[in-house]
């Protein structure tokens, strides 16, 4: 994936650039908003990673200019402003995701993966499909039923939402923060192990009674469903 990174911090910039390159992405790193805007207008990127507060032109202004010229490249904001208002501002400017500093690289990587695939077209997260299937597991969102190997599995409302989120992103790393934000609508960390607990309950229902595990934990990073 070709990624534009706008980050002025002398330490974070190279860290993110190197990390993404190690994962096989091509990264153009800028530490000035104006340069980044010129590059983004002249070339075709798959993803923009923009810091909110940089000299010259801040990330918000850069994205607003791009969106005004009908550029729909997915954009992820990096910011030290974690407040809800700042988050809303980011989404209103046309941002697709918002990550607050400090963050784990795995978190950034997972979100980059999610946004990149959205760019590639056939985005399973956006389909209106109401029956999700993965190998022998079926989740019917309208009937609110779940079966595996023909066996009926009873799921709670939140578990259905959680499983839906995971099944729409097969083979992709999904972090704890992503789940809190998307499934529980919590932009804060409730300190208690909400995600871990619900994942383990879900696992006990969809994986434990069967021989192949579909939901895997990647230690310290997050969860991967299928593949």
């Amino acid at each position: 994936m070709r990624i534009l990174l706008l980050e002025d911090d002398a330490q974070l910039g190279p860290w993110i650039t190197n990390g993404l390159r190690e994962e096989g992405h091509v990264v153009d790193h800028f530490d000035d908003g104006k340069d980044a805007l010129i590059a983004a207008m002249g070339q075709d990127f798959d993803l923009l990673i923009l810091d909110r507060m940089v000299p010259g032109l801040d990330g918000l202004a850069v994205l607003k200019s791009l969106r005004a010229s009908k550029d729909s490249t997915p954009a992820l904001f990096l910011t030290a402003l974690g407040e809800v208002e700042a988050r809303v501002e980011g989404f209103e400017a046309g941002g697709d995701d918002y990550l607050t500093k400090p963050f784990a690289f795995a978190e950034l990587s997972a979100r980059v993966g999610a946004l990149g695939r959205r760019r590639e077209g056939a985005d399973p997260t956006k389909t209106t499909q109401t029956v999700l299937r993965h190998s022998d597991l079926t989740l019917d969102l309208l009937a609110r039923t779940c079966t595996r190997q023909g066996q009926q599995i009873d799921l709670m409302a939140k578990e259905i939402k959680l499983l839906e989120y995971l099944m729409r992103r097969p083979g992709r790393l999904v972090t704890r923060t992503m789940l809190l934000e998307q499934v529980w609508d919590m932009s804060f960390d409730p300190t208690t192990s909400v995600v871990e607990t619900h994942i383990s309950r879900l696992r006990a229902k969809i994986d434990k009674p069967f021989d192949v595990a579909l939901l895997r934990t990647r230690r310290g990073e997050g969860y991967v469903f299928g593949a």
Partner: protein, 439 residues
């Protein structure tokens, strides 16, 4: 914005509403009340004064007439002779021929005023007096007084209408002054309402500088401007603090992640995470405390909120070998920020999980939502301390986690204009409730 088709109806309704509101205000207008009181006193004074003046005037008139009549009778000296003319009747007492009954009655009473239905010698009102003539014989004399009466009536009319005009004018001036003052008071009141609802750009915009109301409006505008400036400053400051602290934390995280894998790296990363979590909570409490108004408020059904939270946290509590019970009774719908309320209740559940017993109850009773446990509880004497804003949390901080939990609950409660209620749970434990009943 309202759809254009509904605008006309809405406008009319709001106009009627405004008038009703204005009338209600009018009744409470101090200027108008004063004017009404003064008019009342005026009116009473007029009534007494006019009544006294008219009565005294009439009496004096009568005395003067009687004196004249008795002089005429004395100068008469005409036993058994009538001395009637167009403006005088003077006869011996027993010569009552041709006089109407009321006249005769007054003569037999010794004198007074006679009011006749039909004119007698072109006058319907007469003053009669029984006296003696020059020879000492009893006679009666009478003069027409219709013109006097008419003059008296005219005087009364003039006095009464003047009084009426004065009272009406006083009331009108009062109403006018009341309306003018009321318009400004409404403006001041509306501005105060907007300010308390969080719109710090609200101003009265009254620039006149003639009286005390103008002074109040001006001071209000200055205070609002100062408030707006301070809030903007606080917001800017907290954004700067967030940026200045999160950036080094992000660098620390980056450097730790670059270290080779190992147990120490894991521990360090965990500590770094905890550090940024605490910082996040502090910033969140500060933001909630600094925030104002009802921006982002929506209708939150407490039952649904409680059920949602119970489903989310129930399994977490169960994994700790404790039980979370949902207790919903006649739950209300309140105005609030759902995200903040979720955060507050999540904090209460977390607190109960750490300090409470094995039975945790999440309840929604009427306009109250909260969490109770059956643990050791808190000494009621310490209730005031554990909810104090973060400046005074040092003691609580040492007891668990970041210790900012209740400070956040308190900030969320204050932001909603709700009451944070702490009580001893029956039979033991702590019961914390957010009560949305406005006092």
């Amino acid at each position: 914005m309202s759809p254009c088709c509904a605008r006309g109806v809405g406008k009319a309704t709001s106009l009627v509403h405004r008038w009703v509101h204005q009338l209600r205000w009018l009744r409470r207008s101090s200027t108008l009340r004063l004017a009404a009181l003064l008019s009342g006193i005026f009116a009473l004074g007029f009534v007494v004064a006019i009544f006294v003046a008219l009565t005294l005037g009439e009496r004096a008139n009568e005395r003067r007439l009687d004196a004249t009549l008795s002089t005429i009778a004395l100068g008469g000296a005409i036993a058994d002779t009538r001395l009637d003319s167009a403006a005088l009747i003077l006869r011996p007492l027993d010569d009552l021929d041709g006089l109407p009954d009321p006249f005769v009655r007054v003569v037999s009473r010794g004198g007074g005023v006679v009011r006749l239905r039909d004119d007698l010698m072109r006058s319907d009102t007469w003053r009669v007096l029984v006296a003696q003539d020059g020879a000492g014989s009893p006679v009666f004399a009478a003069v027409p007084i219709e013109e006097n009466e008419d003059a008296q009536e005219l005087l009364a009319q003039i006095l009464w209408s003047t009084a009426g005009v004065v009272v009406v004018v006083t009331l009108a001036i009062g109403l006018w002054a009341g309306l003018i003052a009321q318009r400004r008071l409404l403006r001041i009141n509306a501005t105060l309402g907007q300010l308390s609802a969080g719109d710090l750009t609200a101003r009265t915009g009254l620039t006149r500088s003639k009286d005390d109301l103008d002074d109040i409006a001006k001071t209000l505008d200055q205070t609002a401007a100062e408030l707006e400036r301070l809030v903007a400053q606080t917001r800017h400051l907290s954004a700067s603090i967030a940026h200045d602290l999160r950036t080094p934390l992000a660098r620390l995280r980056a450097q730790l992640e670059m270290l080779p894998d190992g147990e120490e790296r894991g521990v360090a990363l965990e500590e770094a995470s905890r550090l940024s979590d605490i910082f996040d909570t502090i910033m969140r409490v500060a933001r909630i405390e600094a925030g104002q108004g009802r921006d982002g408020f929506e209708e939150v059904p407490l039952a649904e909120l409680a059920e949602d939270l119970a489903e989310t946290f129930g399994p977490v509590v169960e994994d700790e070998n404790k039980a979370l019970t949902l207790d919903v009774k006649a739950p209300a719908v309140v105005q609030g920020d759902r995200g903040m309320l979720v955060q507050a209740i999540a904090n209460l559940i977390q607190n109960a999980l750490v300090h409470g017993g094995d039975q945790i109850t999440l309840f929604a009773h009427g306009r109250t939502i909260g969490v109770a446990d059956n643990g050791a509880g808190v000494d009621p004497a310490a209730f005031a301390d554990i909810v104090k804003p973060m400046v005074r949390l040092d003691a609580a901080r040492s007891t668990h986690g970041s210790g900012l939990g209740l400070a956040l609950v308190r900030a969320v409660t204050d932001r909603h204009g709700a009451q944070l209620e702490l009580a001893v749970n029956d039979p033991q434990g702590l019961k914390v409730a957010i009560n949305f009943t406005h006092l």
